[in-house]
Amino acid sequence: MNESPWKDRKEPAGEPTRRLTHGALERTGSDGQALRPAQPVRRRARAPELWLLAVSAVVAVLPLAVNNVNFHHVLIMFLIFASLGEAWNIITGLAGQTSFGHAAFFGIGAYAAAVAYFRHGISPWIGMAAGAVIATAVSAVVSYPVFRLKGHYFAIATLAVAEIIFQLFVSWSYVEGATGISIPVAAEGLATFQFHTSKLPYCYITLAAFVGTVLVFRRVEESRLGYYLRAIKGSEEAAMAMGINPARYKLYAMMISAFITSIFGSIYAQYILYIDPFMVFALAISMKIVLLTVLGGLGSVWGPVLGAAILIPLSEYTRILLGGTGKGIDLIVFGALIVVVACFQPQGIVGLMRSHGRRRAERGVSGDARRDATAVA
């Protein structure tokens, strides 16, 4: 009796059928025109996976084709930040909760890997796993108070949390406080997660993690969770009226996001082999993640990838080229570019491509082309 009538629609013994469409389907639609039989919309849901395959194939070949240390470095940074953007995109792009505090999870991951080996001689891989678990736990604990806040209040709260965690690390002697940790050099190899002669192994490990991250994002986006998150972004009230508990699903999104972010923190630490709180907990890290995702396109799979593909080479190469002599010219250029993009393409590059695709589709006849244009983007 307490169950929904829709559950007993399969029990013929029940009351006369309460199916929604009882007797209605044979008639006409509410606007008087005859109804066409229902046919689920077919979308090219698999297309992003194909794209991912293509992109990762290119990225896999690139470092072999261009055998240059700087290039490898830029590639690694690109993959790391694209993935961080994907992770952030889950909580902000899908669920609409602007986090300025992702450096906290990044830092936790970095420190977990570093401390594991530095303090205890444990494999950084185990450190990475532990870090991811800790970051997820921290995100869950922190989410409770933070998710009660909305909009800007939420954003500032994430900033506050990240700063608190940063301050704790600065004065925590177990992690060497402000001095930071130089990860002791170990024999090269996958087991120690250290490579000294070539950056290639880092390229491929990061690539693998990147592919995993994109797949996770796609998985989330396409699942019930993804629909719920987007509904929450659109209107928490509408979501609640559909039986969705916003706090719970935002929490899930935050945990997934923190988990991934932490993993890339560990990878970063193992790649740089030196970390301190000012590096990994920097507001600049949080902001870089925000910037590149927004630049690329908020809420879309390819947004962070496109954004990182532009911003990371730009910032890394300008630093390599101008950093030494220019005293900040790289960041002036970087900042100016961000301003220009914000002013003229606030929807991000994906938004630009999408509206372009739409215009093209509208010139054609088929509505399907339009649908595909949006589905791809």
Binding site: M1, P5, E15, T17, G32, R230, A238, M242, G243
Partner: protein
């Protein structure tokens, strides 16, 4: 009739609202409102602007915690429960100010609701197709929510609510801003939903639309219930005419 069978089978009303009071500071937006809704009924909730209809919806559906009073749905006390719990029990509502999810397509909007009872995407899509067909939005399903007209948005609002497969659906001014043809369609839809076994509570301003389809009418004025009865009874009630209907219903009919 289907509705009477159901009522006989379940003597207890589907929704019992007892002494509902909601205060905002000094203002009592709902003052000791009591009414029942039986299974298979269409109940109209009417009253002048600011009478407290939306507030009543908010209290019943869990968006506001009433200052006093009790709401029992299907035998369960839902007073002060969160909206998503109430929705899971089979009571949901639409919003007077539509909350279309503009970034999602029409189909995705509805699938989001369908996921409540249809865990898989395939099932959710089937439910969505069914509901969209019923609300006449099927050909719009690939359009983003933000591209819809206001009439379509109102229908989408209903479709989304229907997709959660409620027992009781509360519509808040679902016909406001529609043209006569669209209103006719909405009236048909309400009747068909009742036929399909749903119970409806409908807030509406357009008397020509609401009077013919409702089984019972409850009138609110300044937060208080001033009348209840069949459409004919209410239309003849002096208090009601004074408070509200005077200008609108009589002038129109």
């Amino acid at each position: 009739m289907d509705a009477t069978d159901t009522r006989a089978a379940n003597a207890r009303p589907l929704l019992e609202v007892t002494g509902l009071t909601m205060r905002f500071g000094n203002l009592a937006a709902n003052d000791n409102v009591t009414f029942n809704v039986h299974r298979g009924e269409i109940v109209a909730l009417i009253g002048p602007n600011g009478a407290g209809k939306t507030t009543c919806f908010n209290c019943v559906s869990g968006f506001l915690r009433p200052t006093a009073g009790r709401v029992v749905f299907d035998g369960i006390d839902i007073t002060g429960m969160r909206p998503y719990h109430i929705c899971r029990l089979g009571l949901t509502r639409t919003f007077q100010i539509v909350k279309t999810l503009g970034d999602m397509t029409v189909e995705e909007n509805v699938m989001t609701g369908a996921f409540l009872r249809a865990p898989g995407k395939r099932e959710a899509r089937e439910v969505a197709a069914e509901v969209l067909e019923l609300t006449g939005l099927l050909d719009k399903r690939a359009k983003p929510g933000r591209s819809l007209t206001i009439a379509e948005r109102k229908r989408l609002e209903i479709a989304r609510a229907l997709a959660t497969r409620p027992k009781l659906l509360m519509l808040d001014e679902a016909m406001a801003g529609l043209n006569p043809t669209e209103i006719k369609g909405a009236m048909d839809l309400c009747l068909r939903l009742r036929e399909a076994g749903l119970t409806l509570v409908v807030v509406e301003h357009i008397m020509e639309a609401i009077m013919p389809i409702s089984d019972r009418v409850i009138v609110l004025s300044s937060g208080e219930k001033i009348a209840e009865g069949t459409p004919e009874e209410v239309a003849a009630n002096e208090d009601v005419i004074k408070a509200y209907l005077g200008e609108k219903y009589h002038a129109a009919s």
